[in-house]
């Protein structure tokens, strides 16, 4: 009986082993499956990697708000010349940001000196699904999945076992979502489909659209908000300001940002963390001082009222072209000030 049971276990183990090994081999052989928006930018950057020394990595709050051309002009005028590229991608939050950073560094850009990374908390919610399966899938390697799961469960040291159990139950949807995505990613779900469809489509056709008119990754934003929307924005901003207070970044994001800074430094570049001028008015802070990299905080309507004028805003999170020019100017000046420090 025991012998038969052992034999069955061996067979199951062999089957699972073959599944994992084959999946692993396919992963190694097939090119990485990157979604639209990320693939084009990465492909373009890989082709021109040695032309850029400064990189802006973040969400649409970077994508539509930082003009590398304007930034380079200001830094040149102030004696710290740069050649920047905007790697902003719609809806990109940590931990996807960290995954994309790793892909960028894998291209081994030799001239890279400065990397501006947008600071935000880790996003775990299932509403991420609106980005589409392919977009969610590609960054779910184990380090990123583990980070998301930890954030979703958030097991604080002082909690009792039943509180932990309750956390697990509350976070069940996020756990199922991210574990499922990890499994799909590990087992290369749909990779052959991606591979064959990549033969048919030419990414360079999308470059013009995704890389913006100057081909530097910066995409022009939309029109300013309507009077009704502006009124709503002013009300919401007032609420945010009255409720504002200094807020710590979540501990999982903090440790990930520290790791990210170390990684960038090890590569030979300097990290700079930026909080973009969104409507959320509580400046994010790191728990441990000093922060892992210089932190430039712009989500403060009292210090930067010009970024919160309704004429320069598309919505709660995004700036118009005029607003983008102003934000680029402020960012460049802050950068120059920082670069000149001994």
């Amino acid at each position: 009986m025991n012998k038969r049971l052992t034999y069955r276990f061996v067979c199951v183990a062999l089957g699972l082993g073959a599944l994992l090994t084959t999946s692993f081999i396919y992963r190694a052989l097939l090119p990485p499956s990157l979604p639209e928006g990320v693939a084009e930018k990465l492909e373009f950057f890989a082709k021109h990697k040695d032309e850029f020394d400064t990189l802006f990595l973040g969400s649409s709050r970077f994508y539509y708000a930082i003009s590398p051309e304007g930034f380079d002009q200001l830094t040149r005028e102030n004696g710290v010349p740069t050649r920047a590229f905007n790697f902003g991608i719609d809806g990109m939050n940590p931990p996807e940001t960290f995954y994309v950073l790793e892909q960028i560094l894998k291209t081994e850009p030799r001239s890279l000196k400065w990397i501006f990374v947008e600071v935000d908390n880790i996003e775990t919610k299932s509403h991420l699904k609106i980005l589409g399966t392919r977009r969610l899938l590609y960054w779910h390697d184990w380090p990123r999945t583990a980070l998301t799961l930890k954030k979703a469960i958030n097991p604080r040291p002082s909690t009792t076992w039943y509180q932990r159990l309750n956390r697990l139950w509350t976070a069940r949807r996020e756990l199922i979502l991210h574990l499922g995505l990890f499994e799909k990613q590990f087992t290369n779900v749909g990779r052959a489909v991606d591979f064959f469809s990549s033969w048919n489509e030419s990414r360079s056709l999308k470059w013009d659209l995704l890389l913006g008119p100057k081909g530097d990754g910066y995409r022009l934003a939309g029109a300013p908000m309507t009077p009704e929307r502006a009124e709503h924005f002013r009300r919401k901003l007032a609420e945010e300001v009255s409720a504002s207070g200094s807020e710590f970044i979540d501990p999982y994001a903090e440790s990930a940002y520290r790791e990210c800074a170390t990684r960038i430094r090890r590569f030979g570049a300097a990290p700079i963390f930026v909080v973009a001028p969104g409507i959320f008015q509580s400046p994010l802070r790191f728990r441990e001082s000093p922060p892992p990299a210089p932190l430039l905080v712009f989500n403060d309507s009292k210090t930067y009222p010009q970024l919160y004028d309704t004429k320069v805003r598309v919505d709660e999170q995004h700036l118009t072209n005029e607003g983008a020019a102003e934000f680029t100017r402020l960012l460049a000046l802050e950068f120059v000030r920082h670069a000149r420090q001994p």
């Binding site: 061996v10 062999l14 699972l16 599944l19 084959t22 392919r134 499922g180 290369n188 779900v189 489909v193």
Partner: protein, 468 residues
Amino acid sequence: MLFVEFRFFWFFLAVFCVYWSLRENRSRKIWLLLCSYVFYAAWNWKFLFLLMGSSALDYFVGRMLARTEDPRARRSWLLLSLGANLGTLAVFKYFNFFVTSAATFLAWLGLPASVHTLNIILPVGISFYTFHSMSYTIDVYRGKMRAISSLLDVAAFIGFFPQMVAGPIVRASTFLPQLRTLRKFSEVDVRGALVLFLTGFIKKACIADSLAPFVDRYFAAPGSFTAGSAWVAITFYSIQVYCDFSGYTDMAIASARLLGYELPVNFNFPFFARSMSDFWHRWHISLSSWLRDYLFIPLGGSRGPRWFVYRNIMITMLLGGLWHGAAWTTVIWGGLLGLALVVQRKWQHWTEHGKQARNWTRWLGWALTMYWFCLALMVFRALNLPDAFVAVRSFALFRSEGAQDLGAWMLWIVVALGIVHWMNFRGTFANWWRRAPDPVFAVAYGCAAATVFLFIPPHYTPFIYFQF
């Protein structure tokens, strides 16, 4: 929870391991019932009470039928069961359809009526488990089987998760005897079940889901496509429906088999059918035989005058169409297929003595059957009646004003799939995988599964038959 989801794998692994580690049949059945309810609750726990209610009622009716010999009382109890099951189906599935159809009819007569529809969602699998449930009370009423004394058995039969939400429609007389005996793992054809599961997985996740975007594109606006695209779309849809549903059934049969239970075969190469009646012996066999035994035969079946038989066929097929969905498109679909059966009967009657004629009509029969099936399926898939008309005109008369093209070259995909299907029909793939030793089979299976995953579109399309 879908069979093609990873979480089903973990769920089934837990079910399987605990199930076979339990020694007593009763404990196993309790475990199965619990797991079945968890499986159903993963979709919507609130509708679990409906399932439990249906099981409890039919168990009770079964007991009451066993207690009395009085025909009137027995008929009353049966009517209670049928009324409750069909009533639930009517409320959840057909209420809005009937109400809006009546309102449209009254408006057509010039009598506008304001109607209230119910804001309810259709419980998954309701059409299937009510049929499972009714088969039990009808069989007890007819004396084909004895009433079951254990509520656990009845609930486990109706709620058995592999077949609960999309069939096959299992008869109580087939499944309940299996529940009563302790299953032995040594008698389980593990290898056959694993291969069947993977086959079903390939059909659903790789073939059906890959074809779905083309079909959806066409049927979203059939008027804007060329007539050639109508042929591509409908051939793709035929394959999609077949692979989707038979894929689900394969996975359901395989899952049940791994737990020691046999479910009936539901598909038998329907695309090789040479007549419409042959088609219904091969397509969704469990439903067509259910409708035959519980509707067509009680209506009078094939006995009596010819027009009477034709009437029975049409009633059965129209109701069968309605079973597939609360819409006029499905009713017309059923009607078209019923019409084909009537015409076939008439043809058989005319050519009764012309054996020669019947030989040469075999191939013609196949072509006509497939053509008519596709035409009816066009109506079935269309979003509404005007779209159905446009699609059918485009398909049947090659008339379309649309300019968009799905690409006729795609029909080569159909040819390739057809060749594989034909080879399978001829038994090319049968059983060669049984010859390898267990460890070799295990390694090959692991490699095959890893390769299959590569071809799954990352986004799963829900099973088509879940909506029924």
